[in-house]
Subunit: 329 residues, 2 copies
């Protein structure tokens, strides 16, 4: 009887195991994407950087892909979903928490005065529900809200209004050994309440804005409390700064949908070697909402011009996607 060395057996067996597992890998990626230039460009990029024989091969530890959330992975109209949460909670807040005219208006469902006051106005509305509450209690409350709240136009649960083609893109990238991150202007604790279950992205891979957080001794136990005041806005130039701080590797792929994502896409695609920038253009007024240069939320103006100049993939939702939301189970 001929005997084989241990490494030989290992190699054969691992090869056999890989072959048996291969149908998973061979399933068509991006099934809800029409055969458009966008889909082709994305697949070409991924095949290129994962091919060990390609000059553009990128080792796994550098296959970092960053995604904006609002308007990129789920809908952001008629307002950011986190703001809908803040307004819902303002409506039932104790009187003592409504100590400014902006907060009083928000409690009545009027976001106008807050919007007129810009970031500081929004911070006031946010503070009603996002301050003086522990991180654990806040995340539990957001989960409660997401379990019951319905979108005003579609009547759908907010977490059902994620984009099916983007779920497929996240899956595809992870199958190809990319590390996927969300880098969102949304709050880090708001995202922690749903993003892992909804997108398959671990808590560690979420980067977001944040209010001040304080460690306090509460009845003899250390507790993390959210406080009034914005500590960091993870938008615009804040996105590359946060990526550097938290990830420490310049991504090779960045996906966004608004001018707030332009610095992230610019910085990502200016790096050496193969890089891909993707902007989702909300062109589908029938299945979602059509908007760009004049929108209150997710304004895409500078980005539309830059996309052409810089060779970014501009996803035309109406024409590039065969489905927008996941089919109901």
């Amino acid at each position: 009887m001929k005997t084989h060395s241990a490494p030989y057996i290992t190699t054969v067996c691992l090869g056999l195991a890989a072959f048996l597992a291969s149908p998973l890998v061979l399933a068509e990626p991006l099934a809800s994407w029409n055969d458009s230039d966008s889909k082709k460009a994305i697949i070409e990029f991924v095949e290129n950087v994962t091919d060990p024989d390609s000059d553009d091969f990128v080792p796994e530890e550098q296959r970092i892909a960053v995604f904006d959330n609002d308007g990129t992975l789920w809908t952001e109209q008629p307002m950011y979903f986190q703001l809908a949460y803040a307004l819902d909670r303002a409506a039932t807040a104790e009187e003592s928490r409504l100590d400014t005219e902006i907060k009083k208006a928000a409690a009545k469902g009027d976001i106008g005065p807050a919007m007129a006051a810009g970031m500081e106005g929004l911070a006031e509305v946010i503070a009603i529900s996002h301050a003086d509450i522990s991180v654990d209690d806040f995340q539990a409350d957001v989960r409660d809200w997401l379990a019951s709240a319905k979108h005003p136009d579609t009547g759908m649960a907010y977490t059902d209004m994620v984009f099916q083609p983007m779920l497929e893109l996240l899956d595809y990238l992870r199958e190809e050994d990319f590390d996927t991150y969300i880098v969102s202007g949304g709050g880090i604790h708001f995202m922690r309440a749903f993003a892992t279950e909804t997108y398959g992205i671990a808590p560690q891979n979420l980067v977001g804005s944040r209010v001040n957080v304080e460690l306090v001794d509460q009845d003899g136990t250390l507790t993390l409390m959210k406080r009034a005041g914005i500590d960091y806005v993870d938008d615009g130039p804040g996105k590359p700064v946060a990526i550097d701080e938290k990830i420490g590797v310049r991504p090779i792929m960045a996906v966004g949908n608004s001018d707030g994502d332009v610095p992230m896409l610019t910085w990502t695609t200016e790096g050496d070697g193969p890089r891909l920038g993707v902007l989702v253009h909300h062109t589908d007024g029938e299945r979602e909402v059509a908007y760009d240069r004049d929108s209150h939320f997710g304004k895409l103006d500078k980005g539309l011009d830059e996309a052409t100049d810089r060779g970014w993939v501009l996803v035309d939702m109406a024409n590039d996607w065969s489905a927008v939301y996941p089919e109901a189970p």
Copy 2:
């Protein structure tokens, strides 16, 4: 000829592959740790949380272990190595950067005035070398320094003054599917220059202090520039806040050596279920440096008392470790 189903072959082959790989797993963990209570407590904890049949079993995604760096993974005397870098660079800085008395003294090697002024004084010294430089250039400069600088007492390269028993602990935890993080008072960019190579910890798993960072358009290219001013001090209560923000999961194990680590150990071990706190006590004046309650750097006073009250493992370097630094290759 009898045929087998694909799942059967996969199972047999994966089992065989695991058996062939098993000597790696079966090698004695923590080889440079003497058979002390410390070693026993660590191994018992790890075996407990990784045993699927144990009531204390913890799934992989929650097996988060956080380590302080200075004094925990490498030596921190006679001063933090990052401060030695800052002083070395101050000594050769352009005159125009030495615009305060504290900076001028530091450039002559006198850290006294800075220490007397506390955190603001140290921030001035740090700013000489850590500001008005791009993140990329800074990290390259730290790598240059680490490649040539020698410790004043031992004459060793700084990156050779890591603790062999802690390298083994990091390896052991990773073999048991823990995710290992550094949560350091040291600067995030300083650590990025060496920690991945030295400790096997990815850039994403480093949490640290930071100066202000700004995204600027430099000759038409977006560049991350380090600026004067401390943005965040990742020490004391700042450690749990940073862990929550960056990791988003309360660790089940925390390892430190000074009072600056006490909030991290307290918050970690106050969580539900099995938890382990470890404090390294610098008791070895022969092989390293003996210090605790009265030290300028890495003062361990409150922590010594808390360790007993809270059941943390107090590592006695002199008696628990058979080696301190790695053997020269």
